[in-house]
């Protein structure tokens, strides 16, 4: 290998490109790859440290959490909802939901003999304004909505990369690292609970605040609801009030004809609600 032609010395002028010999090239490659390895090793070593820093004052992490010991369910009582939108604001603050998108939202139904009006200004985030309808309204109520965390999910079925999945404790989640942003799931969801985040360009939706419930806290929307219209419980726990209500009260789910088996139950749901 000693019969190689020597490289011409670089002249340093901007117009003449530097000619790279084989040896110089190999040295560069080694240096670069070595640098990359060091950089990546540093990044992976620093990541847990950063994570530990943020959890300094957090409630105990979900170390001992066993998903198989729980089966979460959500209970909404529309008769108690006053449409204040506290839940929507809390969700947005808790999960950094992009403006104009909602992981949970509140709808207002106004019905009479001659018509029905449904509105949800900004998802109910700023509360509800006074409303004039063109028919004689006989009843009106608010309906909080979110992902129903179905047992037979349309969204998981259509995901081509296995990014949407259901955990052993019955929560439907999206793996942001696997999601390719094809939005099949957004179209498949009959409840309109998914959206593509304009920031990450991946599918997002309500997670029932998985980072909270695995630490023993309630979802943010349940935590702030002033009237108890939202409740969250564990179907595997004896004496759980939500489990008791689902077992003994009149509950319904949204769009039961689709057979998606939602795990978000509504007490005394009006037939008008879709």
């Amino acid at each position: 290998m000693d019969d190689r032609t020597p490289c011409p010395a670089p002249t340093g002028g901007p117009s003449t490109p530097r000619v790279l010999g084989r040896r110089a090239f190999l040295e560069d490659v080694l240096l670069l790859s070595g640098g990359a390895v060091v950089f990546l090793a540093g990044a992976t070593a620093a990541a847990p440290a950063a994570a530990a820093e943020g959890a300094a004052s957090a409630p105990p992490a979900a170390e001992g959490y066993q998903p198989w010991e729980h089966r979460w369910a959500y209970l909404v009582d529309p008769e108690r909802c006053i449409g204040c939108g506290s839940c929507v604001r809390a969700c947005s603050a808790e999960n950094h939901v992009p403006d104009g998108f909602f992981r949970t939202w509140v709808e207002r139904y106004v019905t009479g003999m001659d018509g029905t009006s449904v509105d949800s200004p900004n998802g109910g985030k700023d509360g509800f304004p006074a409303l004039q309808v063109a028919f004689v309204a006989t009843k009106s109520f608010f309906v909080p909505k979110m992902c129903n965390h179905c047992r037979e999910t349309p969204c998981i079925q259509v995901c081509p990369v296995g990014a949407s999945y259901r955990t052993p404790d019955g929560v439907v989640l999206v793996d942001g690292e696997r999601c390719i942003g094809c939005a099949y799931c957004v179209q498949a969801c009959p409840f309109g609970s998914r959206f593509l985040s304009p920031e990450t360009h991946t599918a997002e939706k309500c997670t029932w605040c998985y980072h909270r419930i695995t630490r023993g806290l309630r979802p943010a929307c349940v935590e702030v609801c002033p009237t108890g219209a939202r409740a969250f419980g564990d179907l595997r726990r004896e004496g759980d009030p939500v489990r008791h209500a689902i077992e003994h009260d009149r509950v319904a789910v949204l769009q039961p004809h689709l057979r998606t088996e939602p795990q978000c139950f509504y007490l005394h749901l009006d037939g008008e609600v879709r």
């Binding site: 994570a51 820093e53 943020g54 959890a55 300094a56 004052s57 957090a58 409630p59 992490a61 979900a62 959490y65 998903p67 008769e79 108690r80 006053i82 449409g83 204040c84 939108g85 506290s86 809390a90 603050a93 808790e94 999960n95 950094h96 207002r108 139904y109 106004v110 700023d126 509360g127 509800f128 006074a130 409303l131 309204a137 009106s140 109520f141 608010f142 296995g162 990014a163 949407s164 999945y165 955990t167 052993p168 989640l173 793996d175 690292e177 696997r178 997670t207 605040c209 998985y210 980072h211 909270r212 695995t214 630490r215 806290l217 943010a220 935590e223 702030v224 002033p226 009237t227 108890g228």
Partner: protein, 154 residues
């Protein structure tokens, strides 16, 4: 033997292809994929620690603000979380312990979100028609002049 060489060659090509597929798959498929179903199991732990819980509930506020908590517990707002009006605790006390002033909204708009009379609210819930209820301009503090937000009396 002449023919056997062809067979070996073909077998070698197939083996190389299989090895290529195997190695490529090893790089592309995450290590925890398929442990408990067709998804990346490691993501469940990632979701658990995705972010620090921002809302901590009134009891957490009570560690510093005992008086307000006690006043609230005795009044009509006993079920109203502090964080509805004052924002999440994490925005007031950061994870590293730094304290910034919490939200204090004195405008009637805050009270109106729950107590303004609009279609949809349950009839038994206390509601007012603001324009009839308040005699005068609806500027900041108009409601607080008569009502204590921590323990309101009708």
């Amino acid at each position: 033997m002449e023919h056997a060489r062809h067979v070996f060659r073909a077998a070698l090509v197939v083996l190389v292809l299989l090895a290529g597929v195997g190695i490529t798959r090893g790089f592309l498929v995450p290590p925890t994929y398929g442990l408990h179903g067709p998804y990346r199991w490691a993501n469940v732990a990632e979701q658990m620690s995705a972010r620090t819980p921002a809302h901590r509930g009134p009891a957490a506020c009570g560690t510093c603000h005992e008086d307000e908590l006690r006043r609230r517990a005795a009044g009509a707002h006993r079920a109203v979380s502090c964080e509805i009006c004052h924002g999440p605790l994490l925005a007031h006390v950061a994870a590293d312990g730094r304290v910034t002033a919490p939200q204090v909204d004195r405008s009637p708009a805050l009270c109106a979100r729950c107590h303004r009379k609009v279609l949809g609210r349950p009839a038994a819930f206390p509601q007012v028609v603001l324009e009839e209820h308040v005699d005068g301009p609806l500027d900041a503090g108009a409601c607080l002049a008569c009502h204590d937000p921590h323990a309101p009396t009708p």
